[in-house]
């Protein structure tokens, strides 16, 4: 096999020695495995599952909803069942509710208590979603929070903030931008970024 691609073959090494909390993580994991409560394969499989989830899945749901009215209806009625239909399992056993934006209504999601997030369709949340600032301000002053993300929602559009819980997760179905009638599925998918499904921005034609 030829091997002439120009990447760097320096092995990835962890430079820093583990700190206290990493040592605690290693210890708890190894103890639980030794006690037969969990297996190393459980952890490996879960990391594999976490890595397999990304906003690509949310994008697929949104674009299908944009282009298939019946699917949209099913998605809004029962997010879990509609996701399963697209072979996306809501693996964390949470209720998955999709919130539809309209020309009069903009949605944004938060978890004021902690960091609940539709991980099954968006992957793990960004740090800012878990931050004290976002959590403490989103429900009180959404417009000022949105402005920090560069998003200005006109005053006549109502903003609804949905607060997630351990059992209830939300995702925003953003409004399909005007002028995208002739877009292909791939072109539409590019408009649907993670942040549009959190609701801190809206899909834009670049």
């Amino acid at each position: 096999m030829t091997h002439n691609h120009p990447h760097d073959h320096t092995p990835i090494v962890q430079e820093e020695k583990p700190g206290y909390y990493e040592i605690l993580e290693i210890s708890v994991r190894e103890l639980m495995i030794e006690k037969g409560r969990i297996t190393a394969d459980d952890i490996r499989k879960q990391i594999e599952l976490l890595d397999s989830r990304s906003p690509v899945l949310g994008q697929q749901l949104v674009v299908r909803a944009w282009t298939d009215a019946d699917f949209k209806k099913r998605l809004l009625e029962n997010g879990n069942a509609a996701a399963e239909e697209m072979d996306i399992t809501i693996y964390d056993d949470t209720a998955f509710t999709v919130l539809e934006d309209t020309p009069q209504l903009h949605h944004m999601i938060v978890c004021t208590l902690c960091s609940c997030y539709p991980r099954a369709v968006l992957g793990l949340p960004p740090d800012w979603y878990k931050s004290k600032q976002y959590r403490s301000r989103a429900v009180k002053e959404p417009r000022s929070v949105l402005a920090e993300f560069g998003t200005i929602i006109p005053d006549e559009i109502r903003i609804i903030i949905n607060d997630s819980t351990a059992n209830q997760r939300y995702m925003v179905l953003p409004l399909r931008p005007e002028g995208t009638e002739d877009f292909t599925k791939e072109e539409l998918e590019k408009l649907v970024t993670r942040d549009t499904m959190i609701g801190v921005t809206i899909p834009k034609i670049i």
Partner: protein
């Protein structure tokens, strides 16, 4: 101020308490490998109903206001998990003491 609110409201129940001066730090980063393992570990503990999501979250609140403010997200998770496992008698303080010592030695780290 009435102390009632402190009784009724959990310390992590911070919705609506922030002000515009608390700007959001917007950046992207990859998790450290141990953070992802920690995430997977808590998911697996939840899956087997050993420590569920709700218990883990409560555990992150019960470490005291000072630690809540100083520890990072996954640092709180692993502290919460080990406290939950200790409270449930699944792990003993000795288990953790012996094991952390062994792991620290393995990586040539002094605890």
């Amino acid at each position: 101020m009435s102390t009632e609110i402190m009784v009724k409201k959990l310390p992590n129940d911070i919705g609506g308490t922030g002000c515009s001066d608390d700007k959001i730090e917007i950046y992207e980063r990859n998790l450290y490998p141990w953070e992802k393992r920690c995430h997977a570990l808590l998911d697996v503990l939840d899956y087997y109903k050993i420590v569920n999501t709700e218990e883990k979250r409560r555990g992150t609140e019960n470490i005291g206001a000072e630690m809540v403010a100083k520890l990072t997200y996954y640092e709180k998770w692993i502290v919460s998990a080990s406290n939950c496992l200790l409270q449930k008698g699944i792990l003993s303080p000795d288990d953790i003491a012996v094991k952390t010592k062994e792991v620290a030695k393995r990586y040539d780290v002094k605890l």
